[in-house]
Symmetry: C6
Subunit: 267 residues, 6 copies
Amino acid sequence: DFEYALENDVKPAFGRSDESLNRLMTGGITVWGPEVTEILDQGTLLAEVVKNPENRGFRSAVLAGSPKTGKTSLAAQIAKGSDFPFIKVVSPEDTVGFSESAKCASLKKAFEDAKRSKLSVLLIDNLERLIDYHPVGPRYSNLVIQALLVLLNSPPPVGHRLLILATSSDRSFLRDMGLMVAFGSVIDIPRLSTAAQIMNVIGESNIFSDEQLGAINHKLEELVDGKKFGIGIKHLLELIESARQCEADYRVSMLMSMMENISLNLF
Amino acid sequence: DFEYALENDVKPAFGRSDESLNRLMTGGITVWGPEVTEILDQGTLLAEVVKNPENRGFRSAVLAGSPKTGKTSLAAQIAKGSDFPFIKVVSPEDTVGFSESAKCASLKKAFEDAKRSKLSVLLIDNLERLIDYHPVGPRYSNLVIQALLVLLNSPPPVGHRLLILATSSDRSFLRDMGLMVAFGSVIDIPRLSTAAQIMNVIGESNIFSDEQLGAINHKLEELVDGKKFGIGIKHLLELIESARQCEADYRVSMLMSMMENISLNLF
Amino acid sequence: DFEYALENDVKPAFGRSDESLNRLMTGGITVWGPEVTEILDQGTLLAEVVKNPENRGFRSAVLAGSPKTGKTSLAAQIAKGSDFPFIKVVSPEDTVGFSESAKCASLKKAFEDAKRSKLSVLLIDNLERLIDYHPVGPRYSNLVIQALLVLLNSPPPVGHRLLILATSSDRSFLRDMGLMVAFGSVIDIPRLSTAAQIMNVIGESNIFSDEQLGAINHKLEELVDGKKFGIGIKHLLELIESARQCEADYRVSMLMSMMENISLNLF
Amino acid sequence: DFEYALENDVKPAFGRSDESLNRLMTGGITVWGPEVTEILDQGTLLAEVVKNPENRGFRSAVLAGSPKTGKTSLAAQIAKGSDFPFIKVVSPEDTVGFSESAKCASLKKAFEDAKRSKLSVLLIDNLERLIDYHPVGPRYSNLVIQALLVLLNSPPPVGHRLLILATSSDRSFLRDMGLMVAFGSVIDIPRLSTAAQIMNVIGESNIFSDEQLGAINHKLEELVDGKKFGIGIKHLLELIESARQCEADYRVSMLMSMMENISLNLF
Amino acid sequence: DFEYALENDVKPAFGRSDESLNRLMTGGITVWGPEVTEILDQGTLLAEVVKNPENRGFRSAVLAGSPKTGKTSLAAQIAKGSDFPFIKVVSPEDTVGFSESAKCASLKKAFEDAKRSKLSVLLIDNLERLIDYHPVGPRYSNLVIQALLVLLNSPPPVGHRLLILATSSDRSFLRDMGLMVAFGSVIDIPRLSTAAQIMNVIGESNIFSDEQLGAINHKLEELVDGKKFGIGIKHLLELIESARQCEADYRVSMLMSMMENISLNLF
Amino acid sequence: DFEYALENDVKPAFGRSDESLNRLMTGGITVWGPEVTEILDQGTLLAEVVKNPENRGFRSAVLAGSPKTGKTSLAAQIAKGSDFPFIKVVSPEDTVGFSESAKCASLKKAFEDAKRSKLSVLLIDNLERLIDYHPVGPRYSNLVIQALLVLLNSPPPVGHRLLILATSSDRSFLRDMGLMVAFGSVIDIPRLSTAAQIMNVIGESNIFSDEQLGAINHKLEELVDGKKFGIGIKHLLELIESARQCEADYRVSMLMSMMENISLNLF
Ligand SMILES: Nc1ncnc2c1ncn2[C@@H]1O[C@H](COP(=O)(O)OP(=O)(O)OP(=O)(O)O)[C@@H](O)[C@H]1O
Ligand SMILES: Nc1ncnc2c1ncn2[C@@H]1O[C@H](COP(=O)(O)OP(=O)(O)OP(=O)(O)O)[C@@H](O)[C@H]1O
Ligand SMILES: Nc1ncnc2c1ncn2[C@@H]1O[C@H](COP(=O)(O)OP(=O)(O)OP(=O)(O)O)[C@@H](O)[C@H]1O
Ligand SMILES: Nc1ncnc2c1ncn2[C@@H]1O[C@H](COP(=O)(O)OP(=O)(O)OP(=O)(O)O)[C@@H](O)[C@H]1O
Ligand SMILES: Nc1ncnc2c1ncn2[C@@H]1O[C@H](COP(=O)(O)OP(=O)(O)OP(=O)(O)O)[C@@H](O)[C@H]1O
Ligand SMILES: Nc1ncnc2c1ncn2[C@@H]1O[C@H](COP(=O)(O)OP(=O)(O)OP(=O)(O)O)[C@@H](O)[C@H]1O
Ligand SMILES: [Mg+2]
Ligand SMILES: [Mg+2]
Ligand SMILES: [Mg+2]
Ligand SMILES: [Mg+2]
Ligand SMILES: [Mg+2]
Ligand SMILES: [Mg+2]
């Protein structure tokens, strides 16, 4: 039975791909605001559209947000939450230093693998790196982006269903490179921008006393007030790690000085 | 008999090529307006010009329209409707990651195959991808476009007849790349732009009650009124799929919010 | 006898080259105006300059005109009319997808073949394609154009005589690429621009009644009047083919609507 | 035991890498001002953040300062001071004339080596040279920078800890190339800019009499006064070497004339 | 005897090189004005500077003039007139389609050959072609020009003497490419610009009656008067060849119409 | 004994390198002014800084001056005058037509050779040619300049001493390419610009009578007066050679007309 053989062939790969999904999940998801839940809900809806036998079963979406905003973790969470039996990860780590054509071949292979299973998620982490994009020039691998544009437009065989999820750090990159149109939809991943959102994360860290938390909250409200302030969740977690290393008395001032640098765009 | 050998040689290929034609036809053609019939009529006329023994039997045309407007399906429909015994498809899917010269060779081969038969259609889907075009730079494969320009200008052997159909997403791309002149004619594929056209498609979906259809019609008329609104047929079908996934009560508002995003050019 | 061997070696090639000359002659030459005769006369004069033993016997000329104006057919006609025993054709069709250096080698070979015979015409069809020219960039094969510039400046051995004829779609291309100076002379191939010229061709087609011809003539005079209208002979013949396919009653209006598109530069 | 094998495998490399660390330390560190101590303290904090088992154990920082300001020595000092058992050095000297892909492979290998140990420092000296950056063009190896961007964003296996230190001569290079964001933090390495700082170094050289030192101090105060003067520690040590070579009587005037050239930006 | 071996080795090459010198001399030198004599005198002086044992014996000069002004013939004439025992010709014809590195190798070989003889002329015809120069881009072979710049600056072994002569169509090309400085001197080759100069050449052709010559002279004086008119000797000889082909009565008017085209810059 | 083996290995190379040093010295050094002595003194000082065991023993300098100002001869003279036991020459002549990577390898080898000896001079003649620099584009070998920048920043092993001397025709080239900073110091090589300086060289030639010398001096003073005149020593020696070839009576006027051309920037 051909179908059977296919799934047989796919099974061993499944374990491997699951492991590479875990590699992308470097920690849990803190729900620092309703924005987080909403993103996960959009992912769930997409997965259901793909699953529904009345539909054609071929969708793609890209999670777009500034660096260190949690894109990769959220995409992985959506993939995992979809409960699709086959999840394939395309991560730039796996093709470091590959030639353009080797990258193409690896991308093509990932799509083929995903299409061979009846119900798959294909997670492409970091589109910029996939196509070797660099803004100075700009440079990019035309070979790889051409392959991507073709593959994003090639439905799986009849009866097979495929959800493609990708991440990218820059909406204008997506638009300029023609990837905005090529993906069916874009899910924006925001930075934390209010004192309350940030406090939700700081509170979980258990390194500040209640008094210190009050002080931080107060200073954050001042900092944020009237300005356009924003910090990615991954960046915030790093600052908290650095603060933890200081002696207790210096933690608040150190954390706040790093926050100020961010608000001054010094970093 | 040489002629016989030729056709013999071609036959097995025929089956294969027919299959690849089906691959391009991902669904039926909804006649959402007289524009659709007119496009198919233009295709029929071209096929007849090629067949007519009084004529030279060598024509090419490109179907040009925005992304997701149904170009590929319409080109396939015209090819199928021509009833020519040999139909060859050049699809970017078949040459993903090929080197420029491999792409050239494959294109040349397709033309040779098509010319060997007495009466052929050659369908080239997605000219942008064929020549690896990207607007950033811009980049394109000069090797492939040179080959294309030469092949488009080389008639089949005396007595053999060839109709070349191609698709492209961008009229200005065609003009800039010199493909407008190289193809004998351009057939424009429009977007749906009136409430009535859109309702023709939504009505067929069977997911809205009559009351909901009325509401949608009303809102669409407001949305479209006075603005330049347009949505490709493939895009519209995707929105309907997403709406189907919502609970019945939210379907109308979800569909309309997606329509508004389009009208605001947010997507 | 060395000379004898040379000619012997050349003979078989002759047959072949004659065949490839025929390939360029896709139909007869309609004398739609005195311009046509004049062009052929200029060709005859060049051939005589080359043949005259008092002269050095090395000349080159390029036929330049817009796409579809009949350049290739006229160049082939001049070559054939020269009655030179050896005619070599360099056609882009023969080197589709070749690498730059393979194109060079093939060009060099063609010149060598031509110079080995005592009296040769070398016909280079479509200089743009020969050098892989594309205006976007612009791109061209520097390797091939350098070879061409050198070969155009290298006379055949003493006593041997060589006429080089080429075609090109664009005078400004020729000037910019330094080919204007490299060729000894440029022969301009015009478009048909008066109602009378066009009627000469339409009349020959035998698809319109006398009444229809009168109507067309009248409408053409209106169309052309005061505007800069022009249509290549090859383009015109295509329009007539399309018109033939219509039912008799629609032919005139179809022909005229296509003519109007041309005058509006829509094509 | 896998862990054991890993460390076994790493041990021999350790000796070698330590040797290459010494190669970067071409002399001691003179504390010419509190700035020096502060830089070393920042390094110590980073190392502790990485070591702390409560943290994720993956950090990177770049030491940025003008040419000849002591970046390499300070980075080496921080690495040595961290007391991490494995220190890997990526120095441009080791890949002179390598192809881009060989450079990539060598970079990837260095990261893999570092990640295999439980607690490592990876020191990348001179980012400009690593990516073959040259401002005329500009030119850079996109292959290498893409690899670097990916590797900087790939944490070591769970339980393994990695501190990445790099040096670069130009903050705007870092920002333009997207390396500012890719590295977690930037440590600025200043030039000596006051007479007192410079005298701290000159005093240690033992080549000037006390009277001469007084004269130099006086002249330096004049030179620096009101201008933006700055000299890297490595540059200053070179000037002192040149002065030593002069006869005692000319030393002061020679040193000061070289200092003036610097302040006039003649060098 | 080493010297002897060298010369022995060189002798056979000599014959060959002499033959290639003849290939450049496609006809005699008409002294159409004192300019011609002066050019030849400058060549003679250079040869004597090189021969004089009191001098270092290494000089280079480039003959620069518009296309078809006789540069190649004059350079060949100077080389021949020098009576140096070894003359080596570097002609673009010999390296058509060569790769950049093959061209380099061939250039290097030519210099080595020339330096091995005690007294050599090295004639490099057409510098633009040697370095594959094209103004669109511009493009050129950096590999070849770098080789040329090095070789032009490397004297022959002590006691050996070398004169390098080159031709080029464009003074501004020479200046921009740094060849003006690299060659020791530039000899300008002018176009014929007065009626008298032109009549000197036309008179020699024996195809016009005295009366016709008078008429031509008169018309030329009108044409040239007050304008900046110029025609290269090679171009003029071609016009005369074309005129010869006409019937006697049309010759004058044909010649003059071609002259007018030149003065209108239509060619 | 390792040290012994090293020196043994180096010895044979020594002879060879000395020979290549002589190749650069195409004549003696005329002291046409105190500028010449000063340049040689700067070289001597550098050599002593490198030799002094109290210093680190690693210095580099570049001699920068217009074409034909004597840079190569002066660098060679400094190298010879240093009396270092090992002198290695990197001359563009030795790598004509080499690929970029072959040039890199050869450069790297030269540095390794030089570092293996205890006391070496490495003379790099003509930096522009070493890195295949051409201002049109501009073009340069990034591979070679990256290698050079790394090698210039890598000290020899402890106890070994290395002086690097280079020549270049253009200060702004050095600055733009980042070579100004990479070399420790720049020694400017001037042109002769006063009548007295020029007369010092002309006087040595013995081809003018005292009366002629007086006339030349007078004319030179006029020529130079108030203008910015300059001529390289190598260029001046060439003019004198040309003048020698004239008959005695014409020598002065010929020399002066060549001088005027230079002052008019015609050459
Ligand atoms: N609500 C959240 N959303 C995303 N990540 C979260 C959230 N809460 C906590 N995290 C943690 O934040 C980190 C986000 O890192 P992640 O690599 O996903 O960010 P990223 O945007 O992909 O970064 P980069 O731009 O560097 O690729 C993870 O460690 C994750 O466990
Ligand atoms: N009138 C119609 N014309 C074209 N397609 C239609 C029409 N009615 C329904 N369809 C359906 O719409 C879809 C059109 O998809 P198709 O791939 O042809 O669009 P496309 O313009 O080629 O898209 P893309 O720009 O992504 O290549 C098909 O699934 C087809 O069945
Ligand atoms: N007077 C004429 N001159 C040229 N061609 C003519 C003339 N009369 C009829 N024809 C026909 O017109 C057609 C001209 O086609 P041809 O390929 O020569 O044009 P072209 O200018 O080379 O086109 P392209 O720009 O596509 O290369 C031929 O079929 C030829 O038989
Ligand atoms: N406080 C200091 N900081 C750094 N280096 C110092 C200090 N004091 C003395 N030094 C010495 O100064 C020299 C600094 O050289 P180093 O190669 O580190 O500079 P660099 O900035 O890396 O130079 P480059 O820009 O050329 O790479 C070393 O020899 C070091 O021993
Ligand atoms: N005074 C003259 N100087 C040069 N050539 C002359 C002269 N008189 C007659 N001739 C003839 O003119 C022709 C000059 O051709 P030549 O190839 O030397 O010109 P060119 O400038 O090198 O042309 P191109 O620019 O095409 O290389 C030769 O046939 C030569 O015999
Ligand atoms: N004072 C001097 N300085 C340098 N060269 C001198 C001096 N006096 C005489 N010469 C002679 O001048 C010539 C200088 O030639 P050299 O090749 O060194 O110049 P260069 O500047 O390197 O030229 P290029 O720019 O072509 O490389 C040599 O022949 C040398 O013997
Ligand atoms: Mg990520
Ligand atoms: Mg399509
Ligand atoms: Mg043609
Ligand atoms: Mg450093
Ligand atoms: Mg010539
Ligand atoms: Mg020199």
